[in-house]
Symmetry: D2
Subunit: 252 residues, 4 copies
């Protein structure tokens, strides 16, 4: 039994600092590196790749909508053609900076609203998968279990990784409960950690209606912008290891 | 005797169209493709690479200052570290989109104020050369004969190409006369063409003070945003060929 | 009987030129001036206001989504709070530049996707109307007849102007037929002109299903970015005048 | 004897937070509010104006270069025309949002590199002053004593305010010593406070070469982005009051 721990990284921008990258890098196994459209800038990007390399953490591109002021969290009605091209551009930029630092990309994880829209929007999911496959067919595409993006990734000949969220409530169909619903975000670190371990061990989670939802779990997301996220990631890693679950990059 | 004809391409942006890319592609041998910071967007970038491929034109990255409203033409006092990183990012993006289209980059030509500042600013020139060399040591770096950027490129282990401008007056030290000086831009296509041929054949140009300046000439720039630039490029190519000068990409 | 003719203006940006502002200014009575978020820049904005003043054309702010590469034409899921604040900011900027040129704003017309979303989205429409009313209660808010934005404008104590489009097909409920439907955009200038005159005279239009839709018509939009738009505007103006319809700014 | 205490405010952006605005507002008398080009966004701008109003703090516009990633701290070779227009745009935006909140602008303080360049660049200083005067001749323009911007402001018919920096070393000509020089930034709060009081009382400062430089002092700047800046501002205010110096907005 094994799991990858991923987190969004490199989301600082110019004079603005966000996240706990240095602390998180000690616990996670895969870093999703902001590509400059929703967050990040060329120097932050390069520094984050260097930090990942020094920390032995695998890296992926984290492309988002071109919406810096919205941090990529607002749905944007881009055409599939536009989405395909801006995902390709962002993956290319991160991969090329990584190459200059002697690293290869392991994966691609769409960010924020792009990630969320690709759960159900098949056209958008196909556009993203086409962009990734056109760039490098060996990349692993991250997405929710059962989502359109995983379907699209497989159809495009890519490896995919099913991603779980231990701090979020699930609907019976395996999607995440809306953040607007009470109780949809779990704040107690003890609950998050024990939930994470059982999600990986059992391959399932108890949904908001009490039903049991089967979920593949290749990688688990730790949110990096909340206070104490670095400590949570460290606890999570220890809990997995204590439970006999190997913690390693999904592409290893 | 041989020469490469290059032009800036892919500088349209969203709903905004600029340049005569389709016409120019029929005459030039190397396209400098805007990388999205001073001009261009991910879809324009990809379309331009496809057009270059279909036209048999070699491609290069054309990184500029992050100044869309200024079209990269305004000097910006970025640090060498910032410049190195945003050049690397832009080269990586163009190279990766090209790879997805089955093309390899031939060269890098800095744009506008970045190009001009790198003529004399050694620190900036070194930063640009470091970025290119870190990404791919086989790339050819374009710059003015005698400029810091060519010195820096050689020092970084890169091939360099000396670029001439047939529509611009030269100072006795081989730099371009300021656009603010009367007569510094040559508008008569007949003069431009005959001047171009003699610059390549003689390896020299008559400067504003009447002195003869020795200039290497590996590639000649055709400005793409002026009316009739596509016809000028076609005339230039014929004139070179009529004079027995081979017209081919600098990296061929 | 009277009508205002409006057109989007000042949508050029830096080195990029779009539209036929100078020609259109001779025919229209109200200019919707881009505020810098979807198009326009501070110098274009000021020049356009000067041109309107010299042409005796009334001016309005034309706020859009912060989406330059998408020209404000893509739906963005901004919160009402965000929309209220970026509309206020844009209206303030245009009004202040106008004041420096000795002009007062007459109206506000939301741009592109913001305009379209405010037809049906009541929360967004209220946010826009709140922003306009907070800035200046004497401004006239433009919108489709029967739209949420007109309802919201009236509720906020603003004057509103019902806007018609002579080159677009209408649904039976008075909304514009989607551009994706065949025949939804009318290209024949003769049809557009005669349709415009009858829409103003009759206060109604024949919808796609043949039914007659009652429409108030305070102002008619001429699209400025299509070829020949300046000539169409001139023809339209003459046709209105020939039909005995007074052509004047809506706020006059 | 009196002094105004000013600080840069509203420089957060989207998901990014910077500065200690709430704490500083309790001690300062004038807030320089970022206008969205180097920092700030429409919602941050509005919230900051509301905070200033609730705190009884006078407000000014804080226009900067259009360089978000560089936080407006990098010199940009904009033309005087461009600078005039983007300063006007930014002042208009801040003034209009303030008007919607029932506040009037007191002053304008250029930001970062724009402020620094306007110390010696007469053309740029005149452009800034023209923009401010065109918008509202009652605004007070902030600048270094002896700078071109104060000269330009007076020539444009504006009131000006001489600004001092208690945490910076001065050259014998009254300009700030470059941050690159050792000792040019004073970090000890005790020194900063006592220096501030004597600068206001004596109307002079001891320069880096030991000479005494006469300086008018209408307002003193507290940097808001350093740790403890809110406490420093509070101490500074108490020290002024203890020394019998009235602390009040420069326009009061």
């Amino acid at each position: 039994m094994r799991i990858d721990i991923n987190s969004d990284m490199g989301e600082s921008f110019g004079a603005y600092t966000i996240g706990h990258d240095a602390g998180l890098m000690r616990a996670i196994t895969s870093a999703n590196i902001a590509a400059g459209f929703h967050a990040g800038d060329p120097s932050v990007l390069r520094d984050t790749i260097r930090l990942a390399k020094a920390s032995g953490v695998a890296i992926g591109a984290h492309p988002g909508f071109p919406d810096l002021v919205g941090f990529g969290r607002r749905e944007l009605n881009a055409t599939p053609r536009e989405a395909e091209d801006f995902v390709l551009y962002q993956v290319a930029a991160v991969a090329g900076v990584a190459a200059a630092e002697g690293m290869r990309l392991q994966h691609v994880k769409p960010h924020g609203a792009l990630f969320n829209m690709a759960v159900r929007n098949a056209e958008l999911a196909d556009a993203i998968a086409r962009a990734v496959a056109a760039f490098d067919r060996s990349l692993i595409l991250f997405g929710l279990p059962g989502s359109e993006i995983l379907r699209a990734g497989r159809a495009a000949g890519l490896r995919v990784a099913a991603e779980i969220f231990a701090d979020r409530a699930y609907e019976p169909d395996g999607t995440l409960a809306s953040r607007k619903k009470p109780g949809s975000v779990i704040h107690d670190p003890n609950v998050v950690v024990s939930r994470a371990v059982s999600m990986v061990k059992d391959g399932s989670v108890v949904a908001v209606d009490g039903s049991v939802v089967k979920l593949g779990a290749d990688t688990i997301c730790v949110h990096g912008d909340t206070k104490g996220s670095d400590e949570l990631a460290a606890r999570l890693r220890r809990a997995f290891e204590d439970a006999g679950i190997t913690v390693a990059p999904v592409g290893a």
